[in-house]
Amino acid sequence: MTWAEMQPLLTQAVWDTLYMVGLATLVSVAGGLPLGILLVLTDRGGLLRNAFVNKVVGAVVNVGRSLPFLILMVALIPFTRLVVGTTIGAEAAVVPLAVGAVPFFARLVETAVREVDHGLVEAVQAMGGSTWTVVRKALLPESLPSVVSGLTTTVVTLVGYSAMAGAIGAGGLGDLAIRYGYQRFETGLMLVTVAVLIVLVTLIQLAGDLAARSLSHRGRSESAAPRLRLLRAPARAEAEPAKAS
C-alpha cells in the first residue's frame, strides 16, 4: 500500500474519530457535569442533602461504570437504533460512547467538586448566596482546573473506546486498523494508524494540561511548569508574593 492510497483512508478515519469523540465529549459534559455536582450536593453534609436521590444517581453511575465498553456497546444496540435510526457508522457510535463516558466523567467531576474547600461554600452562604450561587460562583470556578483535567482523561478514554466502536462498524481509526492492519496484513497502515493515535492522544493531553494550568491560580503552579513560562507574560512570572503587610 502506498502513501497515496493510505492518505484518503487515513484522513477519513481521523475525521470520523474526531467526530465521534467530539460529539460524545459534548454529551458527556452536558450529562456528566450536572450529575457530578448533584452527587456532591445530595451527599451527606451537602447543600441539598437527599439520601434517596444520591443513592439512585450513584447506582446509575456505578452501573454505567461497571460494564466493559464492548458489552455496553452491544447491549445498547436497540437503544442506539431508537435514537439515531441506525446501528452502523460514526453517528451510531456516538450513543454508546456518550453513555459510557457520562458516568465516567460524572465521577471525575464529583471528585473535583468535592475537593473545593468547604470554607468557600460557607463564605458564599454568609454573603447571602443561594445554593445555585454557591455552585455557580464557588464550586464550579474553583474546581474548573480539576474538571478540565478530568475532561482530558475522559477524551483520551473516548479515543480508546472509539477504536473499539470501530470494531462494530463505526468507522474511524480503530476500524481502519482492524480492516486493513489486522485482516489484510497491511503492516504499514497499521504502523501509521498507531502513530496517528499516539499523536492525537498526546495533543489532547497537552491541550488539556495547558488549559488546566492556565485556569489554575493556586500558588506555585508557575514554578511547577517551567515550559509555561514561555507562554506567559514575563511580568506575571515575576510577581512574587509580597511580604507581610
Binding site: L47, L48, R49, D117, G119, L120, E122, A123, V124, Q125, A126, M127, G128, G129, S130, T131, T133, K137, A138, P141, E142, L144, L215, S216, H217, R218, G219, R220, A239, E240, P241, A242, K243, A244, S245
Partner: protein, 347 residues
C-alpha cells in the same frame, strides 16, 4: 445589636449527642467590639456560626439589628430569600480567609456585590474603594495565592464590608497570622469599628486580641458563657477567670505569717510611687511577689501582688491607705497564689 437567648446546639451522630452550645445568652451592644474567648471545643465557633445561621441552633433565638433571624429561617434547612438578604447585611471574616483562588483580589471583593445584583461599574467602583480602605488598592489585580496571610485577611475584611454591614463577625480572623500581622489586622478592625460604627463580634483563643481591641468580652466553657462584661468591669473583678487570664499576676508568698494582697491601679495612679510611700509612711517591709502594667482596651492598667508582714488585722491601716490612693485592693484568697502558676498563665 446582636442578642442570643437560650441558644442551644446539639449535634447528633450515630446515636451520640454532643452539646456544643448549652443555653447561651449573648448581648452585644451597638458599636462595640465584643470578644468571645475560650479553648478549642468550648463552642465559640458554633456560637458565631449560629449568629448568621450558617449553623441552625437546636433551640433559642438569634436577633441581629432588631431582626429575629431564627424566625426568618423557620424550620427549613435551606436558607430562604429573607434569611439570605439578612445574611448579606452581616459581614463575616474567616480564619482561613476563604478567598476564591480563581478570582483576582478585586473580583473576590466584588462577589458579594454580584450576589446583591449591582451593575458592573458600580461593583468595580465599590470594590476599589473598599480595597483602598484596607490599604490594598495596588493589589487589586493580584490573585490570592500571590498575597501574604495578612493581605489575604485584609481582602477578606474588604469583602465582608461590601454589603455595607452594620455587624461584622470574625471567626478567629487572626489565628493563622503571625503576631505582628495580627496587630495590624486588629488595628484595622478597630479603625473600621470607630470609622464606620461597625459592631464587631469576634471569637478568638488569644487573650492578646481581647487586650488590644475589645470593649467587652465573654469567656466560654463547655458550651456556656461563664463570665462576661465590659473589659474594665472584668478587670475590676479580681477573682474572675478572665481578669486573671487577661492580666496574670503570679507570685508565691514567702512563708506563713504574711498577708498577700492584690492591688489594681488604673490610668493616673499607675504613675504614683504608692508602694514606697506605703513603706515609708508605715515603716513596713513590702515584698512584691509579682507585678505587671499593661494597656488593655486603650487604658493603662497595673496589677501587683504584694506581701505585707503580719496578719490581715495588723494591716488594716496600710490597706486603707492604698484604697485612699484610689487603688483597688483585694486580699488574695488562700490558694489564689497557687492558682496563678506560670503554666496556667501562658495559655
Amino acid at each position: 445589636m446582636i442578642t442570643t437567648t437560650g441558644l442551644k446546639k446539639v449535634y447528633r451522630s450515630r446515636g451520640r449527642e454532643v452539646v456544643a452550645l448549652d443555653g447561651v445568652d449573648l448581648h452585644v451592644r451597638e458599636g462595640e467590639v465584643y470578644g468571645v474567648v475560650g479553648r478549642s471545643g468550648a463552642g465559640k465557633s458554633t456560637l458565631i456560626r449560629c449568629v448568621n445561621l450558617l449553623e441552625r441552633p437546636t433551640s433559642g433565638t438569634v436577633t441581629v439589628a432588631g431582626q429575629d433571624l431564627t424566625a426568618l429561617a423557620g424550620g427549613s434547612r435551606r436558607a430562604g430569600a429573607e434569611l439570605r438578604a439578612a445574611r448579606s447585611r452581616i459581614g463575616m471574616v474567616f480564619q482561613h480567609f476563604n478567598l476564591l483562588s480563581s478570582r483576582t483580589v478585586q473580583d473576590n471583593v466584588e462577589l458579594p456585590l454580584e450576589i446583591l445584583g449591582l451593575s458592573g461599574a458600580a461593583r468595580s467602583r465599590k470594590a476599589l474603594d473598599l480595597l483602598d480602605l484596607v490599604g490594598l488598592a495596588d493589589r487589586a489585580r493580584a490573585y490570592p495565592a500571590q498575597l501574604s496571610g495578612g493581605q489575604k485577611q485584609r481582602v477578606g475584611i474588604a469583602r465582608a464590608l461590601a454589603g455595607d454591614p452594620k455587624v461584622l463577625l470574625s471567626d478567629e480572623a487572626t489565628s493563622a497570622l503571625d503576631p505582628e500581622t495580627t496587630r495590624s489586622v486588629l488595628q484595622l478592625l478597630r479603625d473600621l469599628n470607630r470609622q464606620l460604627g461597625l459592631t464587631v463580634l469576634l471569637i478568638t483563643h488569644e487573650m492578646e486580641v481581647v487586650k488590644q481591641i475589645c470593649d467587652s468580652a465573654a469567656l466560654m466553657k463547655g458550651g456556656r458563657i461563664v463570665e462576661s462584661g465590659t473589659v474594665p468591669e472584668l478587670l475590676a473583678a479580681p477573682g474572675g477567670e478572665l481578669a486573671r487570664e487577661l492580666f496574670p499576676v503570679g507570685g508565691v508568698p514567702s512563708g506563713p505569717g504574711g498577708t498577700v494582697i492584690d492591688v489594681t491601679f488604673h490610668d493616673d495612679s499607675t504613675g504614683q510611687p504608692v508602694i514606697s510611700q506605703l513603706a515609708r509612711t508605715y515603716n513596713i517591709d513590702v515584698s512584691i511577689l509579682g507585678a505587671a502594667v499593661e494597656t488593655v482596651g486603650g487604658r493603662r492598667v497595673g496589677r501587683m501582688r504584694v506581701e505585707l508582714p503580719g496578719t490581715f488585722e495588723e494591716n488594716v491601716v496600710p490597706v486603707g491607705f492604698l484604697r485612699e490612693q484610689g487603688l483597688q485592693v483585694e486580699v488574695a484568697p488562700a490558694g489564689a497564689a497557687q492558682a496563678a502558676t506560670p503554666e496556667e498563665n501562658s495559655k
